[in-house]
Amino acid sequence: MKRIIGSFSGTSVLRACALATLLAATGGCVCAQENSVSDSTALRVIILPFQNLSQEAQAKDQVMPRIYEKVESLGWYPVSAETVDVALRRYRIRDTGQIGWDHAQKLRSENGSPWILLGSIDLYSSDLLQVGISARLLNSLTGDLLWADSRFAAEDETPSLLRSRKIKTAEVLMDDVLKWLFISLRQTWLRGRLAHISESPVRTSMSARILIIPFDNVSGSLHADQMVNHVALSALFQQGFDVVEPGLVNEQARSLGVMPQGQIDLQTLKFLAEHFAADYCLTGSVIHYELAALPDEGQVPTIELNVRLLDARRASPIWSDHIRGSGSDYIKIFQLGAVRSPGQLLQRLLTRVVSSIRKQLALRNSQVHGLLGNS
């Protein structure tokens, strides 16, 4: 596949991938039935309105049209916002930051596309000049997440030699964020993630499958928990974990009459683990989340998290940590290197967390293999 892709470039590669997807989706005999994707709809993507977690109500109006443009620039055809809106109203889908299986199937059958792009505007501040967007691509045929990433930018963090390129507006930062998000999407897409797209909902990934139980928020900062959920999901995905779409997890938890947050009872966890064939469960709490002005350091974020990894099948804790970080921790000299965006600080902290988790799991698995070898 790599050789074939090597002979194409740019948009033609994407079209080739889409064609391969089309073939994968229509190749089997079963696919001729309900799940078949016709030629004309193979490249269609349903874009759900991004959940706006920022304080600025108009952020969505700024971001969504640009996302449609970016999707079109990839060579895909987004289902029009009006059509999606009608479907959302018809099926009474209010929370578009995540999606359950039932709603995903309805949207897929109505719009004839298995791909759903959804996400959130985590930060958008015209005053502080900070923008952060999380996005993910879902295959509604299988419920697999094909791609997830979060990107953040703040005025002071934008690489500019001796401040020669002064960022003036949040729109400019938004364009930067979207540019990097879609570069990430394109790179991931070309790295063989097409294997995830299959007609059969049988799990094919060999990666550890992990479900995220929404973080609890005791920081008093509105939406801090949701932002942590999104960044954690992206960090896990980027480090090779097979993450279950949070909307699917919440849907199943609701069906049991529970809404776990920061903690989960064993019965629910075992049910979810079995239902999603999940190996691990990540949860935790946001203890402190603040963007504060410090003397001589300008405005820097401070974040404190409590993170736990549970063995999903045995419902026992594997790893736990208390992480604290401040934007000023990264100052090299004279305020240079300070992290001004809470989103970027979160990314750094959670990337560290996920690396620790990977090491812990590798150690644990080698111990288990050692025990099996001895026996």
């Binding site: 064993l266 966890l269 203890i287 404190e304 419902a315 208390h322």
Partner: protein, 190 residues
């Protein structure tokens, strides 16, 4: 003024600051007749919050859970499971009777419960610096007999040496809370 004379002024100040700074050990009760190796699994009951800070109880419970897990001394009941069992037996108050303690222990398969209170969270002003202060009480109750086998109380957040002497900024609320809980747990777990 010679440098020797300058030191003679600073030294008593330093000594006094160290004295004030170092006088904050936890009060501890430990049942020395009890065999703690019997305790394999403990459940943390969400700490009661008697302070002004709305989230102090939840924050302290989270920190306590992590610190207990980090100590690798006991295995810990998943907090969600504890919450579920407490909800089912309608035991929301931290003042449990013997039957409730036994029932919680049986359902969670825990040999001991850790119960406690965040008594105070306040902010003291020391010169130009504000210093968060917290007081936490914890106790371990054996689930078979309901007996308290360990209890400790500590206050953390007195102005530090550097804050006292040089007016440097101290720790945040959650850092202070964490230090306080670590101090208390040190009296149980070496």
């Amino acid at each position: 003024m010679t440098s020797k004379h300058r030191f003679s002024h600073i030294l008593p100040l330093l000594a006094a600051a160290i004295l004030i700074w170092g006088c904050s050990g936890p009060s501890v009760f430990l049942d020395r007749t009890y065999d703690f190796s019997y305790v394999e699994k403990v459940a943390v009951i969400p700490l009661e919050n008697l302070s002004q800070s709305q989230n102090a109880g939840r924050q302290a419970t989270l920190i306590l859970n992590t610190e207990l897990l980090a100590s690798e001394t006991f295995s810990l009941v998943e907090p969600g499971e504890t919450a579920k069992v407490l909800g089912e037996i309608a035991a929301r108050s931290p003042q449990y009777d013997l039957e409730q303690i036994k029932e919680i222990g049986r359902r969670l398969e825990a040999q001991a419960l850790i119960i406690g209170t965040v008594s105070e969270t306040s902010t003291l002003r020391s010169g130009g610096v504000t210093v968060p202060t917290v007081t936490v009480d914890l106790r371990m109750v054996e689930t078979e007999t309901g007996a308290t086998v360990w209890a400790a109380s500590a206050t953390e957040g007195r102005p530090g040496l550097w804050a006292t002497l040089f007016g440097l900024a101290g720790k945040s609320n959650s850092e202070t809370l964490r230090d306080c809980i670590q101090d208390i747990l040190k009296t149980l777990i070496k």
